[in-house]
Symmetry: C2
Subunit: 568 residues, 2 copies
């Protein structure tokens, strides 16, 4: 039974759904419609195209075997018709037609469909501030926009850039501008941390330090009020000052592109996302939708979630393609995953941050540790910093985050937790998580296992912790507070601090602690310190055995303090 499927939107989800369907029903007809002339490109590659890592826009549009996915490609290779430069004005669900308009000659026509796919993606938010439409002000929306940005850079007209927004796209664009083009770049965000809904304040702070080491200025808690310029943008005025800029990138998030669906009477959520069931069907069974324009179940909260992601879009596209052909494929939802390259570092997360988990009503806590990414005796290695978010009551794991070198080491750990999160693992499952082990790849007790162990220790109230930000605060306030900072490392490590701050910084190596117990102040809170938090944990147990329990183990140790950019 041959049918005609119309696909609206020809990036990520649309082509995937179309191609999958055609593989299953080669005798049916597919027409894909897109408002632009550039289609089927890897939108997530835009920052790498802007930076120059990807030299040519056509590479983003190419298959892995170097064929450009243009109209001709879809026609010849996929037997799919594509109408480019074509807007969809409306959907007539009763008559099962879509009203099209050619954006070049304005010509309109009706296109009948048997089944329809909505894959219109998202639209970048634009701040409603004066000057937002000045020349030189861009959003990162599509490949045409990216080409305009790159042209501006190549013309040499840009010396100073401001990126508004410190989410993934904002940071990737900032790196693209600063790294390869050498542009004086400032990131401005209203939140008090970068990547605010994604990673913890401390993870964010560590990544921010690395951005700053790479000459990117980061302004947090700052609100952009207006953009000004005569011919083009020249300056950015915020509630804290004025910054010169030849280019402004607005990367303040995206919103689902669902106007068409709404106008057609399809169910759309309060947040503007199209509502679909697990077969990716809208409230009209003849219309499927997926990608950045829909909401899908959040597998941890059970509530609808919004996860704009090229990767999810591709997988949802395949599900839709299968179901268009009468299949029974399901898309259960997502836990939310994230990874970003920040110059020479990688930062990743899966599931919820502590803040999000608490906002969702969990009695959550997080533990933080640092550990080598390979056996500690293996010569080539780097430190990783990871955080696990767990629910106190059920001991369920709610999220994980990691920061490390620009290898796949952090990616590998967070990937493993991302994969199991939907199964509802507990801290014990993480303690015993079966991971691959050989010294060139991991430690016998992997950092994930250690995270599970630490979480369990904290949950059972065996240890009290402090975070690096609290540590910094206590240290700055050391004259006002009672706290004593007890360095549990060998004298060689402790010496510079103990000698510089004889009143505040005490050195007792952990292996000497039992013999030197009488030197430990019993009437003051003790902050226990070592390089990574392991020896200070041992010290904490040793002290408890002696009845000294007002102790706080510095999570992640001095390695984390350093990475966090705090100088004592």
């Amino acid at each position: 039974m041959s049918q005609h499927v119309v696909v609206i939107g020809a990036v990520a989800l649309g082509p995937k759904a179309a191609c999958r369907f055609k593989r299953l029903e080669p005798d049916s007809k597919v027409t894909m419609v897109d408002g632009s002339d550039l289609i089927s490109y890897g939108g997530c590659g835009i920052p790498y195209f802007v930076s120059g890592d990807v030299s040519d826009a056509s590479q983003l549009q190419s298959t892995s075997f170097h064929m450009v996915r243009d109209v001709k490609f879809f026609h010849n290779v996929k037997d799919i018709d594509v109408l480019i430069n074509t807007r969809v004005l409306s959907i007539d669900r009763k008559n099962k037609t879509v009203r099209l308009q050619n954006v070049v000659d304005q010509r309109e026509e009706d296109l009948p469909y048997d089944q329809l796919v909505l894959g219109a993606g998202s639209l970048p938010k634009r701040l409603p501030i004066p000057g937002a439409d000045l020349k030189g002000v861009f959003t990162v929306s599509n490949l045409n926009g990216a080409m305009a940005i790159k042209q501006g850079l190549a013309d040499g007209a840009v010396e100073k850039a401001v990126v508004i927004g410190a989410g993934a796209i904002g940071l990737e664009m900032a790196e693209a501008l600063a790294d390869l083009w050498g542009i004086d770049t400032t990131v401005i965000a209203r939140a008090d941390q970068i990547l605010s809904r994604i990673v913890s304040p401390n993870m964010a702070h560590m990544a921010q330090c690395h951005l700053e080491e790479n000459d990117i200025s980061v302004h947090l808690g700052e609100k952009v009020l207006k953009l000004e310029g005569t011919d083009r943008v020249e300056k950015v005025t915020t509630d804290k000052g004025v910054i010169d800029a030849d280019m402004v990138i607005m990367a303040v998030g995206v919103a689902p592109n669902s106007e068409l669906a709404k106008a057609a009477g399809l169910e759309v959520s309060a947040n503007g996302a199209i509502v679909v069931n697990k077969w990716m069907q809208t409230s009209d069974p003849h219309i499927f939708a997926g990608g950045d324009c829909v909401e899908i179940p959040h597998l941890l909260t059970g509530k609808p979630g919004y996860f704009p992601s090229g990767s999810l879009a591709n997988r949802q596209g395949r599900v839709i393609g299968t179901n268009l052909a009468g299949g029974n494929a399901k898309f259960e939802g997502a836990v939310g995953t994230f990874v970003i390259k920040v110059f020479e570092m990688s930062l990743a997360s899966a599931g919820m941050s502590l803040k999000t988990a608490k906002a969702e009503g969990w009695d959550a806590l997080s533990v933080f540790i640092s550990q080598f990414d390979r056996a500690h005796f293996y010569p080539e290695k780097g430190l990783m910093y990871m955080e696990l978010i767990v629910d106190r009551k059920t001991e369920k794991v709610l999220g994980v985050q990691g920061l490390g070198d620009m290898t796949d080491a952090v990616f590998a750990r967070v990937n493993a937790v991302a994969a199991i999160l939907k199964y509802g693992p507990t801290t014990a499952d993480i303690s015993n998580l079966e991971l691959l082990y050989a010294p060139p790849f991991s430690a016998a007790m992997d950092i994930l296992n250690a995270l599970g162990n630490t979480a369990e220790n904290v949950l059972r109230e065996k240890i009290k912790l402090i975070d690096v930000d609290q540590f910094a605060e206590w240290w700055r306030d050391r004259d006002g507070s009672d706290a004593v900072f007890l360095d549990c490392r060998g004298w060689g490590n402790a010496k510079p601090f103990a000698e510089k701050y004889p009143d505040d910084w005490k050195s007792i190596p952990q292996d000497e602690l039992k013999m030197r117990m009488d030197e430990v102040p019993r009437d003051k809170p003790l902050v226990l310190i070592c390089n990574t938090g392991v020896r200070s944990y041992e010290a904490q147990l040793n002290l408890r055995q002696e009845g000294i329990t007002n102790t706080y183990n510095l999570q992640g140790g001095m390695a984390t303090v350093k990475k966090w950019g705090f100088d004592l």
Copy 2:
């Protein structure tokens, strides 16, 4: 309530159990007993110590903060007594004592225990052949043995080495000898592939090619009959010839070290492994055991499995430590994981190989694909080769394998599957597996998702495949067989083959296939070829639409043929 815990074996499991227990019950006493004078070392690091990557044996014995874990360390830092050079002669379960013998002065004594831990590990198998006890013949059993091997190498007395056995330890030792010491090294194995119970013949063949590229000779299907020499080993005689050797490493597997347990009447399996419950308790509730001397449930077969691994031993040690202190920690079992560095490549697996799965009674099949480890437009990337093993009936995933560059890319993918295997994922779960995505780390449709998709396509009988080994066989026999080899790549790629073999190798690029359908031979089996298997899959569907179904898609494409070492 203070108690005395005796731990037999002071490597991996023993120290972990002892330290965990002491953290929970600091007032109790622990005595750890070991027959050697070197304890608590990372045994998996031995090949890297032999190679010189790890310069000093004490590094394997050190903590991550550079303290050597010797008797003094355990005493001062952990409050654990260690009796080194002490053999355990017997266990008197009734009186709860162990009979000890000092191996230096032969003095014997009884040591009472409240609870006992058996962590005696495994013993390397030694082939019962003439000359096995000659000087210069080693097993890789412990750090003392490794030091003897390294001393032999450092003395410069070794020019030619033979490694018997092509499992992980054999290959790691071969690399150690050949790479840094430049020794002419031969690996001999009875099986017809390396890593025979771990990875598929094709994965093994690809890794073997890489070993050979690095000047290691690999002899498969060869049986060692005897070792000969006057003062020390000089030659190795096999059923196929004689090989000169100044050093022989026997790495033919390990067996659980369970004699003591057996003699004490504890339940021991037919394979000689100590039987424990999920609390790691032996048949005597006062005696725990773990690590290389026990069997644990295989989480895929449900049967007992033997998984000697330093990583599992550590995690089991923690479980035992918790339970010694009255806790309720469980160790469910394992799915089996593996990763190895082979010069500039990494090879990994989780779960079962196709052969093992079939032997266990599954109607299993495997699919194989090659794909870049990052977005294909991202400049720095490498090809990965992965195989997924699934059950036809339930579509459950039984195992996964991967080969790629010496980054963590393969490690990251296999880790993610390893983590979920115990939850019983199906191919659909792999198709939709939520993994981290950003172009510097992965493709929008990760190789794992693609593997799930391919498996589903095969299961639903949408495509027929051939493996690279079958391809090689068909190609070699092309004069006798009817098969036509149809290259679906662009003419540039196909030309050298089409011109060299005009009768056998036909070029029709996939995007021209529909227009050139009349050129396709309809009466012969067609082997469809492209670079990675993606375009040839498309071609297969195009051909089927025209009624041409006697087609075989070459899994992994020419990239795999090349990696497999097959020259056309």
